[in-house]
């Protein structure tokens, strides 16, 4: 019982780590730290870094949460914590 809970928690932490890395990369990475570098590329009429800062990061945030919901629902089922 305790072991099961521990394993579940570790898998959960692994998902969090991956998803939060993406969260960090699209916003603080692409939208802020590497914005000047990315701005030499263009996405339609947008400079790429600017697009990430004002549009792209927000789309990714939404997608991230929905991926998280899916992953966790599966994980809950796998460990019998779903209800």
């Amino acid at each position: 019982m305790k072991n099961k809970a521990k394993k579940y928690w570790h898998e959960n932490l692994k998902y969090l780590f991956i998803l939060l890395s993406v969260w960090f990369i699209v916003s603080f990475g692409a939208g802020i730290l590497f914005k000047d570098f990315l701005n030499q590329f263009k996405l339609g009429g947008f400079k790429l870094g600017f697009w990430f800062a004002q549009q792209g990061s927000i789309y990714v945030f939404v997608i991230l949460i929905f991926i998280y919901i899916r992953l966790m629902n599966k994980l809950d089922k796998k460990y019998g914590y779903a209800e």
Partner: protein, 590 residues
């Protein structure tokens, strides 16, 4: 029909709707009052959260702010949406599993201490009051500008409306009114944006139109960058803040968002842990609709403003310019006596324009405090959204709709905040500390009385806004980031975290943030003026300082907890329990 009539009709219809819902969703127990009975569906909760979250500032001010700051405005876009990722992944599901009513509840139980609970109550009150005063002011401004009543009357009407649905319905009434308010505000924001996007770029999606080509075949953003360069502004897409400051402000806003008590409390209202995750997803999706449109509105409005106004003779200007000049939000001084408007990158006015009773030779209102700089035009940032439909010559009903949307945004946020304030008093303070034996009925009565008092206080601040309110609203996020965020995250993810660590961390975080705010932003009125930018620590603005205060909180808490005894066995059991989603059950009564 004229604008005035349309506005009264649309505002009237939306208010009737809110009243109807308030009467239908009356609260009969404290559980109804605090967490809407715990039975709200994830989608409804997502909509309510979105309306709760998007305030008068998001609706009216944000697009204007971005319009005047270009890339720098990205901090609000990323900060106020990215926080939901933290909320969904790190906080909401666990707090739902914990299953009580409030944030101070969690802090008090997890750190087995009433002093921790009290500190949390104080933090919640500081954050909520600074925020709610701004909302009441927003209500007053919308009323005064669209319905020609003065600000005081506007605030009083707003107070009366909030009173009805918050007082009767508590969380239950507020939740279902917010669902309706979300629909009103998003419709009101999108309609003009779509109209203008089609007008300027032929694309009905503002998010895409913003990156599309305009009539003469060049990209809209390139055109705007070029206009900016010509007039001596920095390119719209590059901005002026330092990379570190952008980073710090964005982070502070994100952590602050996920630590705001009125947002967190919404996740106590859904039935299961699974639903808490899902409703965070819906909330962000619904918020993202406005937040991805706002930067497009900024670009359209900025381009429209410059091309319509710059180098145009005052006598040839469209009506909207003169209308807004009459409200005092636009001013023009003909410094080089050519009768045309020169818009340049400098301050046209020293501070805010002070109007005299006279008119100049072109018919413009004379101000007494123009600057010596070349720029002749002063435009208040807030009018970009409000005036946008007029600038783009949209039909009158759209203008009325924007007024109804602005009111929906301000009222829904005010209601959510007032509830947090009243819960802090009736539940966290009276029930949990002063009078534990109080009956459910008695507690409900106190909750209603405290919401009444909170509305009166908030209304008072709305009518007589203390000068520091505007500065402080933005800093509420820094305060939440510096206090709640670390205490809650560590409470869930660090089993070893104990009372000593968490309490020291919270006190240090919020005091440091308050100190920095007073030193560099607000000053101590009459005693000390705020210090200039050059004195900032590590080049961090007060808005971004929340990150540093938050780090101090985290580090202190971890170090001190390791030097003091581990938390008791039953508390460690709570932590293990909240990490497992099943068996959340209903929120426990007591």
């Amino acid at each position: 029909m004229d604008v005035q009539l349309w506005t009264w009709i649309l505002v009237g219809i939306s208010f009737t709707l809110y009243f109807g819902i308030a009467i239908w969703a009356r609260a009969s127990s404290t559980k109804d009052f605090y967490i809407a009975g715990g039975g709200v569906s994830p989608l409804a909760n997502g909509m309510a959260t979105a309306a709760d979250w998007m305030s008068a500032a998001s609706f009216i001010s944000m697009a204007g702010l971005i319009s005047f700051s270009g890339y720098d405005g990205s901090v609000y876009l990323m900060g106020w949406t990215g926080g939901y990722v933290l909320l969904a992944l790190l906080l909401a599901p666990y707090l739902r599993k914990f299953g009580k009513f409030t944030v101070p509840d969690f802090i008090g139980d997890r750190y087995y201490s009433n002093s921790a609970r009290t500190i949390a109550i104080i933090c919640a009150l500081i954050v909520s009051f600074t925020y709610v005063a701004g909302q009441m002011r927003g209500v007053g401004i919308v009323f005064s500008q669209f319905l020609q009543v003065d600000i005081t009357k506007g605030v009083l009407i707003g107070m009366a409306v909030v009173l009805v649905f918050a007082f009767l319905g508590g969380m239950k009434g507020i939740t279902y009114t917010q669902v309706a308010q979300y629909c009103v505000l998003i419709f009101a924001f999108m309609v003009p944006a779509i109209f203008i996007s089609i007008q300027m770029t032929g694309n009905p999606f503002p998010q895409i139109g913003m990156g599309a080509r305009v009539e003469d075949g060049i990209f809209l953003l390139d055109k705007l960058d070029e206009l900016h360069t010509q007039l001596g502004f920095k390119e719209y897409t590059s901005g002026t803040k330092s990379t570190w400051d952008i980073f710090a402000i964005t982070f502070a806003l994100m952590a602050g968002t996920s630590g705001l008590p009125h947002v967190i409390v919404r996740f106590f209202t859904v039935p299961k842990v699974k639903d808490a995750r899902k409703s965070a997803g819906y909330a962000l999706l619904l918020i993202a609709i406005l937040y991805t449109t706002a930067p497009a509105v900024s670009v359209f409005a900025r381009t429209n403003l410059i091309t319509t106004v710059n180098e145009t003779a005052y006598t040839d200007l469209p009506d909207w310019f003169k209308n807004w000049e009459n409200t005092g939000l636009i001013s023009w001084t003909d410094k080089n006596n050519d009768g045309k408007i020169q818009y340049r990158n400098s301050d046209a006015v020293n501070g805010k324009p002070v109007f005299t009773e006279e008119r100049g030779e072109n018919g413009e209102r004379i101000i007494s405090n123009p600057s010596t700089a070349e720029n002749e035009l002063y435009v208040d940032k807030d009018i970009m959204v409000l005036a946008n439909p007029e600038i783009a010559q949209l039909p009158n009903w759209v203008i009325g709709l924007v007024a109804a949307g602005g009111l929906a945004a301000a009222l829904s946020t005010a209601a959510g905040l007032l509830l947090v304030i009243s819960t802090s008093v009736s539940h966290d303070l009276v029930k949990k500390q002063l009078k534990p034996n109080i009956s459910d009925k008695g507690e409900l009565l106190i909750a209603r009385i405290s919401i009444l008092v909170a509305i009166v206080v908030a209304g008072f601040f709305g009518i007589y806004p203390p000068g520091f309110v505007a500065a402080v609203v933005a800093l509420a996020f820094g305060l939440a980031a510096a206090s709640f965020f670390p205490a809650i995250v560590l409470g869930i993810f660090d089993k070893r975290m104990n009372r000593q660590g968490a309490v020291t961390g919270m006190i240090a975080g919020i005091s440091l943030m308050l100190f920095y705010m007073i030193r560099f932003k607000t000053g101590l009125i009459g005693i000390m003026d705020p210090l200039p930018e050059s004195e900032w620590w590590f080049g961090t603005s007060p808005e971004g300082f929340g990150v540093i205060a938050m780090l101090v909180n985290f580090i202190l808490a971890i170090v001190i907890s390791r030097l003091t005894p581990a938390p008791p066995e039953n508390v460690q059991q709570i932590v293990e329990d909240i990490r497992i989603p099943s068996g959340a059950g209903e929120a426990q009564m007591h």
